[in-house]
């Protein structure tokens, strides 16, 4: 089990009802964390449209997560 802090943005924050939460979970990659939170908060957004950052660095869904990491979940972006 790893302790992972997850931060939610925009649509994900509204779905989760919190900005941030700290979870204990079995997760190897960023994708594992994302799937866990989707199940937890009933989201169905495909990962392909979303982005992820780990400790403020852009990452891939296959990037490994370590105990103590902060994972940022970004729904589809729309700047400009």
């Amino acid at each position: 089990m790893k302790t992972i802090t997850v931060r939610y943005f925009a649509m994900f924050r509204e779905q989760a009802g919190v900005n941030e939460e700290t979870l204990s979970l079995d997760a190897t990659t960023a994708a594992d964390v994302f799937e866990h939170t989707k199940a937890r908060h009933g989201s169905s957004e495909p990962a392909g449209h979303c982005k992820v950052a780990i400790n403020d660095e852009m990452a891939d869904w296959t990037s490994p997560v370590e105990d103590g990491d902060t994972v940022l979940l970004f729904p589809p972006v729309a700047g400009g």
Binding site: F9, A10, M11, H49, K51, A53, D56, E57, M58, L72, F74, P75, P76, V77, A78, G79, G80
Partner: protein, 145 residues
């Protein structure tokens, strides 16, 4: 330089920062909040951004643009918070020796910025509804099947 702000954007002041005696061409792009999106009448737009990653990713985009279309100076500012119709949400300015690089770098920067920066917008409609706007490429993908 890229930065995020909750204040209103002052394009004329930003433009002056790009002056360079070797610059012959200057291209600027501004994204304005418009009153309509995909058939919905829009009242205002709410922008949310995550600054640490947006700024880091924005700097990468500026460096990429300089590699592809060598320019002299480029700046970019993105506003967040609640914006009204006509407000400037994003400003990109590029000064270069000749106009071709200025146009192309400016276009590259705004195109990349729109789909790579962690920035989201929520439209507030005249009927009281609101909704998060999906990214352009997602929409293209979805429309394409």
């Amino acid at each position: 330089m890229i930065r995020m702000t909750t204040d209103s954007i002052d394009p004329d002041a930003l433009r002056r920062e790009l002056f360079d005696p070797a610059a012959g061409g200057y291209c600027a792009f501004e994204g304005w909040v418009r009153n309509e999106n995909e058939g919905h009448e829009v009242l205002r737009l709410e922008y949310e951004g995550y600054e640490p990653v947006a700024v880091a990713e924005g700097e990468k985009i500026l460096v990429e643009a300089a590699g592809k279309f060598p320019y002299l100076r480029a700046h970019c500012v993105h506003r967040t918070g609640m914006l009204e119709i006509g407000d400037c949400a994003v400003w990109v300015g590029v000064a270069s020796a000749h106009r071709d690089e200025a146009f192309k770098a400016c276009r590259y920067i705004i195109d990349e910025l729109k789909h790579r920066l962690p920035i989201w917008k929520k439209e507030h409609y005249t009927n009281g509804d609101s909704g998060w706007v999906n990214c352009e490429r997602c929409a293209e993908h979805a429309h394409g099947g």
